[in-house]
């Protein structure tokens, strides 16, 4: 029996240790937003967060999730600034890779609030978009970053104390 947190909820699953986290998320817990693309961690369609880090769930045995926090696209509940930016910039075409793209991009913004074009490219080149919506992925990440930054400027209590 393996126990972990899935989008903030404690779950347990009786599956062979080597079962990829991907299939457990999709077929046992019914969260279909995480996609199967290559099975060898080369395309990024299956990207989820494991304790906040972007991982490829197709190549992550379920045993490694023991006691950890796993979050998927559904965990964002449509409220992540990237999701809004994705709609504003009309990023998705076929859309199949986009959950993975958003999960991957979210870890970039966690570490780097205002990434440069090169930093975005470097971080996002781990994920394939076969429709090649790359220009819009890049634009959406920049716009989400800018919006988050301006939000921080407005609402940061520290700055208002100093100011």
């Amino acid at each position: 029996m393996i126990e972990f947190n899935l989008n903030g909820k404690a779950v347990r699953i009786d599956a062979p240790d080597d079962t990829p986290l991907l299939w457990v998320i999709r077929d046992e817990f019914g969260l279909k937003g995480t996609k199967f693309g290559c099975g060898i961690a080369m395309c990024g369609a299956c990207t989820v967060h494991l304790d906040g880090a972007a991982v490829r769930s197709c190549s992550m045995p379920i045993s490694m999730a023991q006691g950890k926090n796993v979050s998927t696209i559904e965990g964002f509940e449509g409220k992540h600034p990237l999701q809004e930016a994705w709609i504003e910039e009309q990023v998705p075409q076929c859309g199949y890779c986009q959950s993975g793209q958003i999960m991957q991009a979210a870890t970039l913004l966690e570490q780097n609030g205002s990434p440069t074009d090169e930093e975005i490219s470097a971080h996002m080149s781990a994920n394939i978009c076969r429709c090649m919506a790359y220009p819009r992925i890049k634009k959406a990440i920049k716009s989400a970053a800018e919006k988050s930054n301006s939000a921080v400027n407005v609402y940061d209590p520290a700055s208002s104390v100093e100011g």
């Binding site: 599956a15 062979p16 080597d18 079962t19 990829p20 299939w23 999709r26 077929d27 019914g30 969260l31 279909k32 937003g33 995480t34 996609k35 199967f36 693309g37 290559c38 099975g39 060898i40 080369m42 395309c43 369609a45 998927t72 696209i73 559904e74 964002f76 509940e77 449509g78 999701q83 994705w86 709609i87 009309q90 990023v91 998705p92 075409q93 076929c94 859309g95 199949y96 890779c97 986009q98 959950s99 958003i102 975005i120 490219s121 470097a122 996002m124 080149s125 994920n127 394939i128 978009c129 076969r130 429709c131 090649m132 919506a133 790359y134 220009p135 819009r136 992925i137 890049k138």
Partner: protein, 767 residues
Amino acid sequence: MNLLNNFSKNKTEDSLQPSRRKFLIGAVNSALVMAFAPLTMSLTASASEVIKQNGFSPSIWFEINTLGEITVHVARCEMGQHVGTALAQIVAEELGANWDDIRVEHASSDPKWGFVMTGGSWSVFQMYKPLSQAGAAGRITLIEAGAKLLGVAPKSCDLKDSKVISGNKSVTFAEIIKQGKFDRTFTPEEMNKLPIKSPDKRHTIGFDRLALDVPPKTNGKAVYGIDVELEGMVYARPIIPPTRYGSKVLSVDDSNAKQIKGYLGYEILKDQSNWIEGWVSVIAESYHSAIKASDAIKVSYKSGDTTNVSEQDIIEEGRKLVNTKSAGVLFVNDGDIDKAFDSAASTLDATYITHTAMHFQMEPLNALAEFKDGVWHIHCGNQSHSLTLPAVAKALGVSDDSVIVHQYYLGGGFGRRAYGDYAIPAALTAKQYGKPVKLIFTRPDDAKFDQARSASVQKVSAAINDKNELVGYEHNISAGWPTLSMAPGFMPKGIDNTGNFDPFSTSGSDHWYTIANNRVRTINNPLAQKTFTPGWLRSVGPGWISFGAESFIDEVAHELKKDPVEMRLAMLDGKGKNSGHHPQSVHGAKRLKFVLENCKKAANWGQKLPKNEGLGIATSFGQEREMPTWIACAAHVAVNPTSGEITVKKIFMTIDCGTVVHPDSALAQIEGSILWGVSLALHEGTEVRDGNYVATNFHNYTPLRMNNMPEMDINFVESKEFPVGLGEPGVIAVAPAIANAVFNATGIRLRELPMKPEHIRQQSKQA
């Protein structure tokens, strides 16, 4: 040649052409329903009665309910092009509807929709007129009913914001539907005469709307074929035999699989159509168990006869064919080509090769099959019910009317999901195992069963007269033909009546340059044909044929010491057969000339560039002469002389696709297809070895990623002309523009796709 008509004319006429059907408008269950019915359908009853009695048998194109919600039924699939949005915009335009009131439903398989194929860049081109007319009929009906309610003359009314308006009076669609009575029939003749809104009055076409399919694709809620589950289903994975055709299973040893938890058994599939031969399906309680069990199972085969075929064999075969006089089928024959060559002052020829290229759509092939109450239900994303359904029925040995194909979002189509043969092993496993079966291909399985773009060989020859003019142009083309394998009934006859040919492996050679003597032969490569199933890959024939054609025009220009752009412009005179016709190709080659001049300016053609950098230019007219999308493309490249690496710095593209229905989606299609063009030119491609594709997954098939993305400068021509296709044409001119740019940067002429650093290194060494 009109590919589109050619594709549809072989099916029952009445169900196909909206222009041949009556349009009915009636109230059903208090909704206003607008539907087409075959002319043969008896109309002794009122329109409402017919629609009601036949349930949903006539094809319902759109309906308006008492809340004022307008649902447009779209018999096209959504695979990234936001087609539902664009088609709904056409209806909304004529209806004067509020965009917020619009919903889209994607239709499942039903013969009433006629021949349905989401491909060929056809959707908007094909649906623009019938949807506009259907919307216009709705407009008239709503105005009549609204005028009555307002107590005014219909003439005084207009439609706006989902309301009928007359002066300062208005009534909403919702009110009209609640109170109105509708019973109208329009004959095909009446439909054809309906006035369509003039472009200057448009409020929806040509304006951006948020694409309706985007929000669910940002939160994980969009349902793709792979996401569908049914009660009581089991999982399956195929074991694919060593050759595409002719393999036979001799024995299966599953002793090692029996220890795997969840393993349920295997089936040797019996396909009554013989499309798949020698397949084993491994069944388990979970997909992971199915993968593990299939890896543990040993199958011994008698293989088909293609186990030794290599890429080089296929190319050598093609080379032989393009050099065989009178091989294949005659496609273009203008003037007297033999005379032109006999009397030429000089001649020039070149051979171009493109290697096997694959789909690698992100969602691996999959289908869920269930037999219920005498009907086979197939759940999968697919581009064509009309090709997929009969293939599944034939494999199962049942009639077409006992199969229903349910549609979902496609995790990429690009032509791989047009002939949905991946549903066959799912259906057969379900039939033999007796349970609903979800069969998923792993990525290597998907790659092995791909319908790759065939390797190709083209030979192009030019006859030059003593005035230094290009007077003869001969083009021989050879490849495996997708249409021959998957839809042979759709192959037209060549102009010399010597046989039929695949238009999707030929179109693109019938260019719009005026050259007095011009001959094109198109030749099937039988070795490619029997080794794998050649596939339709986004931009199909023009995607590789134009690499030859547009590289060669450049070669001729350099040979004649002419500027390659000026030489093209001079040949785009719009004379004779290149003058075009109403409505789709009106003004003909002159529109291509216009985009070329525009692109020349945008790219600052003739500018001085640093060493090892170059600009190259190429044109394309989209997927077919009968639906020309006029495009000029310039590539700015830098070549590393030591490593041979080609970097595409910027792509410039000018597009005239007539009326742009949904500008932002149009832009998205061009962005994506330019990058596809770069990817196919430099990053993709594989080879056939031992009868199979070498590429198996994303480690050895490497489409362009974000770090290889060039800058893009995209310009659409503002136009009110008839809308044409946009899903594929942006791919076509990119590869030849890059090749021409490499030549201008280095003096090295690359005649092979993909263009690789070693090609540059080899040629620099020789030089």
